[in-house]
Amino acid sequence: MELGRRRLLMNGLFGAGLIGLRSLATGIPASILLNPREALARARRAPDTLPSPTPQYVILSTSGEGDPISCNGPGTYLDSNILHPQQPSMAATALTIGGQSYTAALPWSTLPQTLLDRSCFFHHGTYTVVHSDEEKVQQLNGYSVDNEMLISLLAAQLGPALGTVQSEPIVLGPRNFSEVVVYQKRPQPIVQPSALSLLLSPPSGPLGNLTALRDHDLDRLNALIKSEGTPAQAAFIDRYVQSQAQVRSISDTLLSTLATIRDDGMSSQIKAAVTLIRMNVAPVVSLHIPFGGDNHGDGGLNNEAMQTVSGMASINQLWTLLNTYEMQDRVSFLSFNVFGRTMNRSYGNGRAHNGNHHLAYMFGSQFKGSVIGGVQPMSGDFGATSINSTTGLGVANGGGDVAFGDTLQSMARTFGKGVGVNPTILDQGIRGGKVIGPALTLA
C-alpha cells in the first residue's frame, strides 16, 4: 500500500498529471507550475507592449529627506549666487560631459569618463517642499495615471520583458519610512540586505529533498482553503501561490554571494542590488544613497561635502560592480528625490527645501552624456528653467517648448524611454511632458 502510494506520488509529482491537478486546484496555469520563471515572463509579455529597444534593469536611489545632491552638479555653477561647499574636497572642477565642458563639485569628476559619457543630469522641478510628499513625487505629483509610481510603471513593463522572478521592485533598507515604494497600490516591504540570503535561499538537507512534496501538499491546502473561502480570501491564496512559484524560480547560483552580505551598510546595499539583478529577481531595486540628508542645520555644509564624497564613492562602487559582472549595458540608474534644496548664497546655515529645482542623475547604456535644462533665479532662490526639447538646453523665463511645469514629467518620460519602456506605455501612464531626445542615444 505504501509503496504503491509512493510510486503514484512520485509519478504525480514529476509528471504532467499532477501538474494538471495542481493547476486545477490552485487556479495557477500549468505552464507556471512547470517552469515558473519562463512562464511568468511569457504570460506578462504582450506583443503590443514590448519595450523598445532594449529593456534595462533599474536601480533607483531616492531620498525623502531631499538630500542636496541637486546643488553641486553640472549646471549649478553658472550663477555666482549659487552656494557651494567650500571644502577642498568639493572644489569646483571641470569635467567633460557629452563633449561639452562643465563645472561641478570635485566628487563628480571622480566618475570614470566612460560613465560620464552615459550620464544625464536633468534639471527639473518636483513642485513640492513637503517631506511627506515623497510618495506623491514618485507618483510624479499627480501627473501619473492612477497615481502610479514611476518605478511601478516601469517595473510593470520591464519585469515581463526581462523575465524577472517578480515584477515588484525590491526595496532595500534601512531607509526613511517616508521612502515607501508602492507597486500597483501595494506597499512593498523594506528588506535588509543582510537578511536576503535567508529570505531567498531554498531549503537544503533532508528537508530540502522534500520541498517538491511539500509544495504539492501546500497547493492542496491552498486549494482546500480557497474552495471554502470568500472571493477575497481566495485572492489572498492566489497571491500566495504565485509567491511560491516566484521563490521556486530563483536561481541559486548567486545565493552564496548574498550570503556574504553581513551588514546593511551602503556598500552592502549596492552589492545586494547588483546581485539581485544578476539573479534576475526583480526589474527594479530601490535604495537610498545619502548625499547630505535634510541639511537645514548643516553649518558650513560640512555634512553635505562629506556625504557627497561618500555618495559618489557609492556610485563608483556600483559602476565598478556592474562592469565586473558585465552588466553595465543592462542596468540603468536614477537618483530621484522628493525635492532639491535651496542654493541661494544668502540663505546661510544649511539648506532648506526647494520644490522648484531638483537634479535627477541618471546613467545607462541608452543615455547620452548630457545636461538637460538648467537653473534660473526663482521665488527668491533658484528653480529649473524651461527646456528646449530639441537641444535639451535650458531656456530661462519660460521660452522653451517644455515649460517648467512639464519638466518633472519630461524627466520621467526620458528616463522611461532610456530604460526601454515603449513610448506608447509612457504616453498612457504619464500626463504631460516630452521625451528629451538629446539625453538619449535612441532615436
Binding site: E135, L198, L200, Y240
Partner: protein, 694 residues
Amino acid sequence: MRAIPALVVLALAASACAPPVAKSGHDAAVPDGTDASSAFDGGPSDVDGGSPDAGEADAGPDFTPVSVSAAVAKVKNLLVGLPPTDAEVEAVVADRAALNGLVAQWMTLPQYNEKLLRFFTTQFQQDQWTFWDLTFQFHGNIPFMNDQRRFVENLQQSFARTALQLIAEGKPFTEVLTTKRLMMTTAVMATYATVDVTHMDDGYNMVDLFQRDQPSQVTVQSAGNIPLQQTTDPLNPYFLVFNAPSIATSYQTGCPYGTLTYPAPASYSAIADLLYGYQPRVPDRPGCFPPLVAAPARYITDADFSDWRMVTVRQPQTAEATTRFYDLLTMRGGQELVLHTPRVGFFTTPAFAARWQTNDSNQHRVVANQTLIVALGKPIGLTNTTQPRSLAALDTAHAGPGTTCYECHQSLDPMRQFFHQSYSYYFGTQDVPEVLAVDGQFAFHGVVGSGSRIEDLGDLLASHPMFGAAWVQKLCTYASSAPCDESDPEFQRLVGVFTESHYNWNALAKALFASPLVTYLQATDSVVGNGQVFPVARRDHLCATLSSRLGIADVCGLNVNTPSFSQVLTTIAGSWPSDQYSRGNESPSLAVTPSTMTRGGMEALCFDLAQKLVDNGTSGYNSADPTASIDKLTGTLMGLTSDRSAGPAAVLLDHYNAALAMGTPPTNPQNKVNAMKSTFVLACLSPYVIGVGQ
C-alpha cells in the same frame, strides 16, 4: 505650473479630512463602557443564531460573509494570537452576540497587553528611531551609549506602557494627551533627569546647570567602595566620590588612573559618563579612554531597566530643587521627578522628539503636525479652514499672506508656538522672553483656543471632537489592515461607543473587535465599498501568533531582554513587513500581500522552528506519534477548530506518510523525524499562519 516659493519646511499632507462624525443611529452603545455590544445584536444574525451551520453568516449585496469559525479565529488571533476553541466557535454559532463576551474574555489574557504594547508604541509614534537620533536632545552626550538596545527600548515603550496603565486604572483615554504621569524605569528616570541638567537654547548652545548651580568637585576613584548613599549625601565626606574599579591600573600610556579629580565646578558629564555610560571621562585628556566599568560594579543594574512604575513629572515650586540626576537611590522606587522641563502626554517624550526632530528652520512644525496626526488623526491641510485668533507666531518670511504655503502655515505656525513657548528646538526649557510673550494658538477643524503652556495644547487636543474618530480609525486600520470608511454607520457607532463611554478604551476595543468591520460576518458600508482585506500577517501579528501558539515567549526576539530563541527568526522578523508611519501621513503604510520575500522568509522561519521544536521533548511535536502531533498542528499552530480541521489534517497526514515513504534507506530511523519536521513546515507555511483571517 506656477513656481512655488522655496524655503518652506513643513511636514504636511494635504489629504482629505474626515467628515464630521455623525451621531450613531444605533442604540447599542452602553455609556459605562462595560457592555458595548454590537449594533447588530438582535439583527438578522440572531434570527439564525441557533443554526448548527457554522459556515453560515449574513450576506448582503455584493458581500460574501466569512465563516463563523474563520471570523472567531481571526478576532482571537488579532487580540492574543491564540487559536479559538470549539466551544468558543460553537457559542458564536449559537448566538452571534457571544462574540462580545469572548472578546472581553480574551482581552484579559496577558497576550492582549503584549500586543497592545506594540500597537501603542507604533500609534503614539514612539518608535522608528535609533540611539543616535537622540543626539540633539542630549547635545551629543547621550546616556547609556554602552547599553543602547535596552535603553532605546525603554524609551520607546515608556509611553505605550503609560497608556496601558491609564487603561488599567480606568482613566479616560484622553488622558494620553494630558497625563503628567508616565511609566518609567529607573533608567528612564535617570535619562529625564540627566537631560534636564543641561539647558540648550534655540541656537544649540548648552548651559551645564549642574556646573552653574551646584559648583562641586567630583572624584572618581578605584581604591574604595563608597556606598552610593554616601556618595549622594551632601553632608557625607564622600559626597560625589564615585567608584570606578576599571581605572585601578594603567590602561593607556600617559593617561591617569587610580583617582580622577574633577575640580569644582565640575561638569555634569563627569558623573553622567560614569553612572550612565559606565566609563569615566578623564578631565582635560580627550585622548584617554578608560575601560568600561564591568557589571556588577556598575551603578546601574539590570533591574533599573525593568522596574516600571508610574512617575509623576512636575516642575519645581519656588526655590525647590529639581531631582538630582545622580541620585539613583531616590529615583529607584521613587514616583516623582521634579524637572525644569515640562513633560505632558505622548508628544513631549524623548522618544517622540527623537522620531520627529526639529531644528531652527523647521521650528517645531513637524512635531506639532505629527502631534495632530497621532491625537486627532489628521495633519494640517488645506481642508482646515479654521482661523486662529492671532497670527503673531506666523513666520511671514517663510509663508506670508498670498503664498501657496500660507494656507497651512497660518494654522501651523501659531500652533507650533505651544511647543516653542515650552521648549527650545532641542527640547531644552524655553527662556527667551520674546518667545514666551507669544501664546500658542490652536485652530483646527472648528476648535479654536490659545495658551501659554504645553499642557494647554494637551487640554485642547483632549477636548477636540475628532479625537474619538481618530482612535477608532487607528484601531480599525490595525484590525482590518486597511483604513475604514468613516462615513460608515458602523464606524460611527463605534465612535459613539468610545465617546459615550467617556473614552473607555476597553469599551472601544470590545466593540470594535466584535464589529462586522473586523469579522466580515455581516455587510457594512466599508466592506461592501472597499472589499474585504485578507492580509499577510505583518510582523507584530505573525510574531504574536507564533509565540502564543508555540508557547514560546517573544519567539521572534523583538524584546531586547528576551534570550534569543532563534537568530533566524530574529533576522527574518527584522525584514518582515511591519506597520510604519511616515512623516505627514495619517495612515500607516501596510504591506498586505504575500511576496517572494515573505514566502521565502516564511519557509526559512518554519524550517528553523521545525528543527528546534520537533522531538525536542517538550513541544508536543513528536515523530513517534504523528497522529497526536498532527492534531496539535491543526488545532494549535494552524488554529483550526474541529469543524474545519479534518481536511487540512488529512493533507498533513498524507504528507507525513509520503515523506516517510521517500526516506532512504527505508529503515533509517531518521526518516520519521524528517517526515514530522516536513509536516511541521507544511502546517507552518499554511495560509492559516502566514495570513490573517483565513
